[in-house]
């Protein structure tokens, strides 16, 4: 499964592709299981240079029934910095944020997930 991410040009906010629009919450992101649709979303994103920058797809992994970004970097982007738990997207809390925070990864079965796979 994949999602498509970018930074919004005007403020740098991390955004996720959702059926033709950019949304701020990972929980709202469109999940792709087709490479073709991913490429299509990326190419639409790249054709919007005054809306978003750095458009790319990320890998997702299933964890306790939820989908989470595979790489630790992308989890931090979806949540916010780990040293300031009230800063960034994680500030609003809720189930989706908690699930992401505790998502287990592919490389580690217990404890903190320390995955880092770059785009």
């Amino acid at each position: 499964m994949k999602a498509v991410v970018a930074n919004r040009l005007i403020d740098g906010e991390v955004v996720f592709w959702k059926s033709g629009q950019w949304v701020e919450r990972f929980g709202d992101a469109e999940l792709f299981d087709s490479e073709g649709l991913v490429e299509q979303a990326v190419s639409v994103g790249k054709s919007q240079p005054t809306v978003v920058v750095d458009v790319y797809p990320i890998d997702l992994v299933q964890s306790e029934g939820c989908w989470a970004p595979l790489s630790y970097r992308e989890r931090i982007r979806a949540l916010g910095p780990t040293n300031e738990p009230t800063h960034g997207k994680q500030a609003e809390g809720g189930d989706a944020v908690e699930a992401l925070r505790h998502a287990a990864g592919a490389a580690r079965s217990t404890g903190r997930v320390d995955l880092i796979r770059r785009k």
């Binding site: 920058v53 630790y72 320390d114």
Partner: protein, 552 residues
């Protein structure tokens, strides 16, 4: 303190207006991101993991209270109420919006602050001794020369598109607090035999993926020839530095490839062709700049302060603070006070807006309106009367700014790492917090003594791990955050590059490994050696043994 005159102020206003236009053109689609990126970088604006990050220069590491309060205001109005002091005498704001950036630059310019050349392949903010003008060690005030270089390098028409970034450091003390030997150019101000002053010029030091302690290419450069000589060095670099590979584009690679002697020869040859009358700074301008820095109106005070001595004997916490954070001043009755930004659980180098305001008030009330930032991510009140020290200490304590750990094991340098930085491979901040927690006991930290731990979240080495007594480098090992330890580096006058201890460790083993290294040191040390001295005497083996033997 140097005051910007109308010329300096109009220059900043013009720069701000230019950037406003560039942002408008970018938002309108007239500039592509490829074209815009170098422009925003030359105004200190990066796109990081969560938002834009604005890096503001603190020239010669010096702030007045108005400037510090303005930084606090920007932290409140445009960020999340804090700023991050870097290892290069800059402050970074982590949550900036592109649309706000021109307005922020305007507000900075109002108080003579700017973000010019805090990124990009140009000459960056010159690193200076945070004790300048306060320490008895220095042969002259290095800020004078930092200001000379600030003006000379600002939008330099020839040197704004160098092969790679370019960092200069100046120190005028034997004890180097600028990491001069690992800068692109390190200038060590010396008193010559005939009383003339000159710079020992070190070129081609650096960190990153190819660390070097820079070689000396000129033993004694008369100070009045500084600008023409810099022009020669930069010109040789601009022409011959590699542009085909970003990792080999720093001047250190050119110097290493040519050899220091050949590089020096090319510089001398170029220097001999430069018209000194046009390139060097006229004496009158130097006098004007010098006068601006020589204005601290110290009072004539006795060297001993009863209030200070009494407080020291009555309050062990104050005594501890004095032992670790207070340094001798050139003027009797005064002291240099270091403010640690490394409290337990604090992000190294972070200061809240409220803390900035507190420090600004203290500088204004007790410190000749002078505040410094250090490359170790701490602050300094350079001129505090001994009589006022107990009061200043109490105010710092109330703001959680009195952690008595300068140069101790918990005074850790850390880059923003993967929590913020788009280049990072691993987090640095939580590792620093883990280690600091391990050494929360201040008695033990004092017993361990000077120990410089520095953490970088990637090979670019913003956390100076190569020149740490104990360096920690975050690496990506099969998708996990791992940390490689190195020992024996120093960024000071006895500069050296650390040696890798052994295989990288997982995050939860780093603090305990540091503990094992410290125990090994305490067992081996003789005659009040620092960690670094013991390491240099006994070598890597006992430390390797301490960390890895148990693991088998």
């Amino acid at each position: 303190m140097y005051q910007y005159d109308l010329i300096d102020k109009e220059f900043l206003a013009d720069r701000s207006a230019e950037f406003r236009g560039q942002v408008a053109r970018r938002l309108a689609g007239e500039l592509t991101e490829d074209q815009f990126k170098p422009l925003r970088l030359m105004n200190g604006l990066y796109l990081q993991l969560h938002a834009y990050m604005l890096r503001v220069a603190i020239p010669y590491g010096s702030l007045n209270p108005t400037q510090a309060r303005r930084l606090a205001q920007i932290a409140r109005d445009y960020d999340k109420g804090y700023g991050h002091f870097t290892t290069r005498q800059n402050i970074q704001f982590n949550w900036i919006k592109l649309k706000d950036a021109p307005e922020i630059l305007d507000k900075l310019a109002e108080v003579d602050l700017h973000a010019i050349q805090t990124s990009g392949n140009c000459i960056r903010n010159t690193t200076s001794d945070p004790y300048a003008g306060a320490t008895a060690e220095e042969v002259d005030d290095p800020r004078v020369w930092c200001e000379v270089i600030r003006q000379w390098s600002t939008l330099h028409p020839e040197f704004s598109f160098l092969p790679r970034k370019f960092k200069i450091a100046i120190t005028a003390s034997a004890k180097d607090r600028t990491a001069a030997k690992v800068h692109d150019i390190g200038l060590l101000l010396r008193q010559g035999r005939d009383g003339q002053q000159g710079f020992e010029v070190i070129v081609g030091g650096g960190q990153g993926r190819t660390p070097y302690v820079g070689p000396t290419i000129k033993e004694f450069l008369p100070t009045d020839r500084l600008l023409s000589y810099l022009e020669a060095v930069l010109r040789v670099y601009n022409r011959h530095g590699r542009r085909d590979n970003i990792y080999k584009a720093r001047i250190k690679i050119l110097v290493a490839a040519l050899g220091a002697e050949e590089f020096a020869r090319q510089v001398e040859e170029e220097w001999s062709k430069i018209d000194a009358a046009s390139a060097d700074l006229p004496a009158a301008e130097l006098t004007r700049i010098r006068a601006a820095f020589a204005t601290t109106p110290f009072e004539a005070l006795p060297a001993r302060s009863e209030a200070f001595e009494t407080a020291k004997s009555k309050d062990p916490a104050f005594a501890r603070f004095v032992r670790n954070n207070v340094r001798p001043h050139k003027q009797p009755g005064y002291a240099i006070v270091e403010i640690s930004l490394k409290a337990q659980e604090q992000t190294p180098g972070d200061a809240s807006a409220d803390q900035l305001d507190v420090v600004a008030d203290l500088a204004e009330r007790y410190g000749f309106s002078d505040l410094r930032v250090t490359h170790a991510q701490n602050l300094v009140l350079p001129h505090i009367k001994l009589d006022d020290l107990p009061t200043v200490f109490a105010a710092l304590q109330a703001a959680n700014l009195a952690t008595p750990n300068i140069d101790l094991v918990s005074d850790i340098i850390a880059c923003p790492g993967l929590d913020y930085c788009a280049l990072a491979n691993a987090r640095a901040i939580p590792i620093a917090q883990d280690i600091a927690r391990q050494f929360a006991d201040l008695d033990r930290a004092e017993q361990v003594g000077e120990l410089k731990i520095k953490i970088s979240g990637c090979i670019n080495a913003c956390g100076h791990h190569h020149v740490a007594h104990i360096g920690v480098l975050g690496v990506d090992k099969k998708g996990e955050e791992f940390y490689q330890l190195s020992l024996g580096g120093s960024g000071a006058e006895d500069a050296s590059i650390g040696k890798i201890l052994g295989p990288a460790l997982p995050a939860d083993k780093v603090a305990s490994a540091v503990d094992q290294l410290v125990e090994a040191y305490l067992n081996a040390r003789v005659d009040g050696e620092r960690f670094l001295d013991t390491y240099r005497r006994v070598g890597l083996e006992p430390f390797k043994e301490a960390v890895y033997a148990q693991a088998d």
